[in-house]
């Protein structure tokens, strides 16, 4: 699923999990444990690098990392592996997760724009320690989140 940009009407923040800051740093396929989230706005070409404060958490890493992404107003996430907890947050918020990134952040964005990545339909990694056998679904949700609009008012 590739979301087409329609003449600058819709803002589309793309986030790539990376090992460093900026477009030239290498991608890091581990969503929860990556060092940086590089967020790119194709319209304004603004690049923002947010360090992953959750990378060293002993448990619930994916949840904290997903929280950072969600609050940064990201619409598309390009990464490698996502666990069940983070995945439930993304589907709840309708964040489009694409996997299979290679190379640098810049290259990952190009791969995404060329439609070379796969959209993630279910978690593709097991949670780290801190959660062994749980089902990983968050509670307290209102309605199904998948497929909701990606506009947000903050």
């Amino acid at each position: 699923m590739v979301i087409k940009e329609t003449g600058g009407v819709k803002r589309m923040n793309i986030c790539v999990t990376a090992s460093g800051e900026g477009l030239d740093s290498k991608v890091d396929p581990r969503f929860g444990r990556c060092s940086y989230f590089v967020i790119y706005d194709p319209e304004t070409r603004r690049v923002e690098s947010v360090s992953n404060a959750a990378a060293f958490a002993s448990g619930g890493t994916g949840i904290k990392a997903a929280e950072i992404i969600a609050n940064a107003g990201v619409d598309v996430l390009l990464t490698g592996t996502v666990g069940p907890n983070a995945f439930s947050i993304f589907s709840e918020l309708g964040i489009n997760v694409q996997v299979g990134v290679k190379g640098t952040v810049q290259e990952a964005i190009r791969q995404y724009e060329a439609g070379e990545l796969q959209s993630l339909q279910s978690p593709n990694s097991t949670p780290g320690f801190g959660m062994r056998k749980g089902n990983g679904m968050g509670k307290g949700m209102k309605g199904g989140g998948v497929g909701r609009g990606i506009d947000r008012d903050n």
Binding site: A54, A57, G59, G60, T61, I63, K64, A66, E67, A70, N71, G73, N85, S88, I89, E92, L93, G130, M131, R132, K133, G134, N135, G136, G138, K139, G140, M141, K142, R152, N154
Partner: protein, 285 residues
């Protein structure tokens, strides 16, 4: 007196030792602290009854009242709460039930409810040994809470034998943390020796007096014995790699029941433990 039976890994004969020791003593309680896989009762065959539900508090978030101030999510060090742009999500499997989030929410949007972690069961009526076990719910991670609840049933006037879970992680610490003595069960094989050394590090750091039982003695080599000698660790008992013992085990029978001479040996070990404790007590004063 509380005696824990532990080992650095599973399958060394820890449960066998716990059972045989408990059956050799009188006025004794036996606790199966391996709450993820309690198997003492496979050998005892007691009728069990539930004596307590183990629960932990969990937050319930009232989204109507929540102002998404993020305080709870910043506070929760287990990362069980995620403050998203339009709501707070709760992940029960990560929650440790500390209750902190409910206390600090200034909007009073968090209420406490209860989550079941497992149960404590006891052998019905009068049994010898008096037997208790904890059972952790499938999918649950709060092993130590169940073990702590189980240990409330220790009667200080009796001898309590605690069959600890295998390994050296938190549940083991919860089991042996406040006992008077710890028996480490090992085998004299390379793996057994390696795991014994890890277990020794744990009991030493907890400052619990301890000794070693070598199970399936005769198998492997003499490295455990040499190590214990060099470290000044008493070897309490050697259980030989005996066909009859193995056969009784496979039939689910604790071997003291069929081999009364072992009754004496376990009693002798119990006396030796008491002597060792009296000595360490003396050395301290």
């Amino acid at each position: 007196m509380k005696i824990a039976i532990a080992s650095g890994k599973g399958g060394t004969g820890k449960t066998t030792v716990s059972l045989n020791l408990a059956l050799s003593l009188s006025d004794v309680q036996l606790f199966d602290c391996d709450v993820e896989e309690p198997n003492c009762n496979l050998f005892l065959g007691f009728d069990l009854e539930k004596v307590e539900d183990v629960v932990c508090p969990v937050p319930v978030i009232n989204q109507e009242k929540c102002s998404i101030c993020r305080q709870c999510s910043d506070f929760c060090r287990y990362n069980a709460l995620a403050a998203l742009p339009d709501r707070v999500l709760f992940f029960p499997s990560l929650c440790h039930g500390c209750g902190g989030c409910a206390v600090l929410c200034s909007e009073k949007a968090i209420q406490e409810s209860q989550r079941s972690l497992g149960v404590i069961e006891k052998a019905k009526g009068e049994s010898s040994p008096e037997f208790y076990r904890g059972l952790l719910n499938i999918g649950e991670t709060m092993t130590s809470s169940v073990i702590k609840t189980l240990k409330k049933y220790i009667d200080d006037r009796k001898t309590a034998i605690l069959d600890a879970p295998p390994g050296t992680a938190c549940p083991v610490i919860a089991s042996i943390g406040d006992v008077d003595y710890c028996v480490l069960v090992t085998e004299s094989t390379p793996f057994g020796f390696h795991d014994l050394r890890l277990a020794v590090d744990v009991v030493r750091s907890l400052k619990v007096p301890f000794g070693v039982i070598i199970n399936r003695w005769g198998l492997g080599d003499s490295r455990v014995e040499e190590y214990c000698k060099a470290e000044g660790i008493p070897i309490l008992l050697k259980i030989p790699n005996d066909l009859k013992i193995a056969e009784l085990y496979s039939r689910g029978i604790p071997f003291v029941r069929e081999m009364p001479e072992w009754n004496e040996k376990f009693l002798g070990m119990f006396e030796a433990i008491k002597l060792q404790l009296a000595d360490t007590e003396e050395a301290r004063t």
